[in-house]
């Protein structure tokens, strides 16, 4: 459903991705792993149009993302949970979620999405009137994911959901993500914690210095010597 061929991306005049190719099929869970500054976040930002990019192919369900305005991409079914959560500070939890549902105007549908988010993250329901920036880090991450889910996405781009969170919270988060995936949402996950990522995803790409260096099923990669040495510390 998401096809990427020869994707390059720039920050200003600096090229940060050098022609990567990547496929995500309907219903899959795919991880993109690599070290710091390897280009993982840039890949997601390039898909969402937040950085300058050029590609031989960059399509989602046949729609050409290169010729779509960044703000129109969510309406195609892609929801992006950015690195560092980026919740709307000063706005309440419920307002954050409602902004997430900006492209979905029907009240009934919104009600359903809200119920779904609150059932996935009951703690958000408790704090619905609280300002977003008064939440704990884990709650903020849940809010960011919940906000993305409000748009009823078919593809969820997740950028470092475990960053800066206590292990217990991370487990809780990934349980919730499992349930999200079970509802049929395709997931492209960027994660620095490689074992966590390979655990969750069925396939993974390894990115190094802006290029894809390896890809395969999670099982293959877990057993790959290079991966074990460089990323899993075994």
């Amino acid at each position: 459903m998401l096809s990427i061929r020869e994707l390059s991306a720039w920050y200003g005049a600096v090229e940060a991705l050098h022609g990567i190719s990547l496929e995500v099929a309907e219903g899959e869970r795919v991880a993109l792993v690599g070290s710091n500054r390897a280009g993982k976040t840039t890949t997601l930002r390039a898909i969402s149009g937040l950085v300058g990019r050029r590609a031989a192919e960059l399509t989602y369900r046949g729609a050409d993302l290169q010729h779509t305005n960044p703000y129109a991409i969510p309406a195609l079914g892609i929801a992006h949970v950015p690195e560092g959560r980026q919740i709307f500070t000063g706005m309440s939890v419920i307002d954050n979620l409602l902004v997430g549902a900006y492209t979905h105007k029907q009240p009934v549908q919104r009600r359903e999405r809200l119920d779904l988010v609150f059932s996935l993250f009951p703690r958000l329901a408790e704090r619905r009137q609280q300002a977003g920036d008064t939440l704990s880090g884990g709650e903020q991450q849940m809010l960011a994911i919940g906000r993305a889910l409000m748009a009823s996405p078919s593809l969820l781009l997740l950028d470092e959901p475990s960053q800066g969170l206590a292990p217990r919270i991370v487990d809780e988060m990934y349980e919730a993500l499992q349930r999200v995936a079970q509802t049929g949402v395709t997931i492209l996950l960027v994660e620095q914690n490689v074992s966590l990522a390979l655990d969750f995803a069925s396939r993974a790409y390894v990115i190094e210095n802006g290029r894809i260096s390896l890809h395969g099923s999670s099982e293959e990669l877990v057993n790959d010597e290079r991966i074990r040495a460089s990323y899993l510390g075994i």
Partner: protein
């Protein structure tokens, strides 16, 4: 008694100030630029009301809606063609772009409308109601009512509607807003247009007790800035509170101090507040 009268007057004037200032605050909140042409938008609004009165005998309280529309259009065009280009540019461009627009508007008014003073004649112009022994000016009261209504409407718009929420979202985090499917450029354009429109509306509403000529904006612009910064630039509720503080301070200080020093007190208060809280009373702190 005199104090009570001053409080009443100060509150009324404060309500009017809130109406005049809220547009500036909205523009700063969403686009993070200080619009130095806001006084000229007010001036154009006054001319719209004046010409509506001359040509159509429309009361400024009604032509205020028309003034809003005209300035909304002007604001949208200016944002689309000019302001947008400096939003990511250096601060200097942001400040002096709107200074340039204000010079051009002032002199356009001079060239096309002439330098004469204009005002309107409405029956309630010098009327006043009596609240016990305290007279309350009707034109101020009407302007105050408009101010209250607009601030309430704006509040409802920002809090209860999707587009208003989107506007707040853009103000806080434009990237996350884009990722939520919000057309950030369009939201900014409309925020600028609404901000300009509100200045136009305010201009119309104050016309019954004031007058218009090309450089009238200069008389209001400093007080606008003071209030907007005092309340916290970008914070709409802050603008209301700042307006009331300035209105009441002016009225009360007039009781004890020479009128010539009236604005000195306001400025001193303004500087003092910023020394204690550099982002204004209700302003959010910026990581700049």
């Amino acid at each position: 008694m005199a104090v009570l009268q001053a409080l009443v007057n100060g509150t009324l004037v404060g309500g009017v100030y809130a109406l005049i200032t809220v547009g500036l605050t909205l523009i700063f909140g969403v686009l993070e630029i200080v619009n130095f042409a806001q006084g000229e938008f007010l001036m154009v609004g006054m001319y719209v009301a004046y010409f509506s009165y001359v040509a159509l005998h429309l009361d400024p309280m009604l032509s205020a809606v028309l003034a809003f529309g005209v300035l909304f259009g002007i604001g949208a065009v200016l944002e689309r063609w000019l302001v947008r280009r400096v939003l990511h540019g250096p601060e200097i461009s942001q400040i002096f772009l709107t200074v340039g627009i204000s010079i051009a508007l002032q002199n356009a008014a001079l060239a096309f409308f002439g330098s004469d003073f204009h005002s309107v004649h409405v029956p309630y112009q010098t009327a006043s109601l009596s609240l016990g022994p305290i007279p309350i000016s009707v034109p101020y009261l009407l302007a105050f009512a408009w101010g209250a209504a607009i601030n309430l409407l704006l509040y409802v718009f920002l809090v209860r509607t999707d587009f208003g929420r989107a506007m707040r979202a853009v103000a806080v985090n434009a990237v996350a807003a884009t990722l939520s499917g919000i057309n950030v450029s369009r939201v900014r354009m409309i925020a600028f247009a609404i901000g300009a429109g509100l200045a136009g509306l305010a201009g119309a509403v104050i016309l019954p007790y004031a007058y218009v000529y090309p450089t009238i904006g200069l008389q209001y612009v400093v007080i606008m800035f003071t209030i907007a910064v005092l309340g916290g630039l970008g914070n709409v509720n802050g603008a209301v509170i700042g307006s009331l503080i300035v209105g009441i301070t002016q009225a009360l200080s007039a009781l004890f101090l020479p009128s010539a020093l009236q604005n000195l007190v306001v400025f001193a208060l303004f500087v003092a507040v910023l020394m204690i809280k550099p982002s204004g009373l209700l302003g959010r702190s910026h990581a700049h």
